[in-house]
């Protein structure tokens, strides 16, 4: 599956996932506290410097990852042009771009395995209290495995639908058969899971 992690190795890869997420939370709080336009410009400059440090290829990937935010930024900008509050609008748009870019940076330099490791660590207090986290830790890899399987089934359903129809795209019409096919697998997977220890095995008490 496509991952958002960058193939370019950066100095940030060496930092612990928990530290990076902690710094992100801190930086986000600062960004939201900065009310002045120049404060936000400075914030964006720092973020851009962080992206520039690992090189041009990394920075380009970072800009590409920001594309989905453009629509949101345009919507906000349009509203502030209509109501003629341009400074306020600029502060909000700059903050939005900086905050998303910073969070994307953490995603780009933190492999999924390290995020899962952090999650396991963060759940430790719950385990200490006697809460069983095994279900969650089983469900995550199961769902990750099911996504390409269902994606493939959805593609096949869409293809056969196209073969029978003059419309090009099946769209929502495959939702019901796709959910049905998904449920057909549930019994067998649950059986296999039970045979391997199920909810009782592993690290849970």
């Amino acid at each position: 599956m496509l991952a958002l992690t960058s193939p370019v190795k950066t100095p940030y890869h060496g930092l612990r996932a928990g530290l990076k997420l902690g710094l992100l939370a801190l930086a986000t709080i600062v960004l939201f506290a900065l009310g002045s336009l120049w404060g936000q410009v400075a914030g964006l400059a720092v973020v851009m410097a962080l992206y520039a440090l690992p090189g041009a290829r990394f920075a380009r990937a970072g800009v590409a990852a920001l594309r989905p935010v453009a629509l949101f930024a345009v919507l906000i900008a349009a509203f502030h042009v209509v109501t003629w509050t341009p400074v306020e609008g600029a502060v909000v748009v700059l903050r939005l771009v900086s905050a998303v870019a910073l969070a994307n940076l953490v995603t780009m330099v933190t492999p999924l395995s390290e995020m899962l490791g952090f999650l396991h660590w963060a759940l430790a207090p719950l385990r200490a209290l006697g809460v069983k986290t095994r279900g969650l830790e089983l469900a995550i890899p199961l769902a990750i495995r099911f996504i390409p399987v269902l994606g493939e089934k959805g593609r096949a359903l869409g293809e056969s639908w196209r073969a029978r129809s003059r419309h090009r795209r099946a769209g929502w019409r495959i939702a019901a058969p796709l959910a049905g096919l998904a449920m057909d697998d549930a019994d067998r997977v649950a059986e296999a899971l039970r045979a391997r220890g199920g909810m009782a095995g592993g690290t849970g008490k």
């Binding site: 995603t107 199961l142 399987v149 959910a179």
Partner: protein, 186 residues
């Protein structure tokens, strides 16, 4: 929270989390207002109408967790903590609440499956989801109620109404094709 969840429940929760992700990949339509709509919230509504309140909530929450740890599963290929940073993030954070409310209404309501599921989808996917998303927009942007309604509410309502009706039809088709599949009504 995992109490009384057996292996079958766990697998169904993981499967529906994956279903939300796959429905987000279905090519999106663009409404006249320029707002893209995808089938992702259809997946959220189905979690509630098919799995019921508790399992639906857990499936949607699992999907949100997968997105937050960096999988590009949110419609448009977005993922990672960055999805929390836009003022529209309430539409993402509210997913589990929406699935829960849809499930609750589906469990309580009698009558034809398609009607009950459509009503449940409106209650969860529109009333409850916007109930989270609009205040979220007002606090994080920050903005007044009128701006929130104009920029974050009204443009999405037509698409979500269509999806609620579709959720009703899909739930009914599923109930016909797989008797006993509706855990929300068993």
């Amino acid at each position: 929270m995992t109490k009384k969840i057996n292996e079958k429940d766990l697998v169904m929760i993981a499967l529906f989390a994956a279903l939300i992700a796959v429905l987000g990949l279905v090519p999106k339509l663009t409404l006249a207002s320029g707002i893209p709509i995808t089938a992702q919230t259809l997946g959220i509504m189905l979690c509630g109408t098919v799995l019921g309140a508790k399992r639906g909530f857990l499936a949607a929450a699992l999907f949100c967790l997968l997105v937050l740890i960096g999988l590009p599963l949110l419609a448009g290929g977005r993922g990672g903590p960055g999805v929390l940073m836009t003022p529209w993030a309430g539409f993402f954070v509210g997913f589990p609440v929406a699935a829960f409310v849809a499930g609750l209404v589906m469990e309580k309501m009698r009558g034809p499956v398609a009607v009950a599921a459509s009503v449940a989808a409106v209650a969860g996917g529109i009333v409850a989801l916007y109930g989270v998303a609009l205040p979220w927009y007002m606090v994080t942007k920050p903005a007044g109620p009128l701006e929130a309604a104009l920029v974050a509410g009204v443009p999405f309502v037509p698409g979500d109404l269509i999806k609620a009706v579709l959720a009703g039809l899909v739930t009914q088709a599923l109930a016909r094709a797989r008797p006993g599949a509706l855990l929300s009504r068993s």
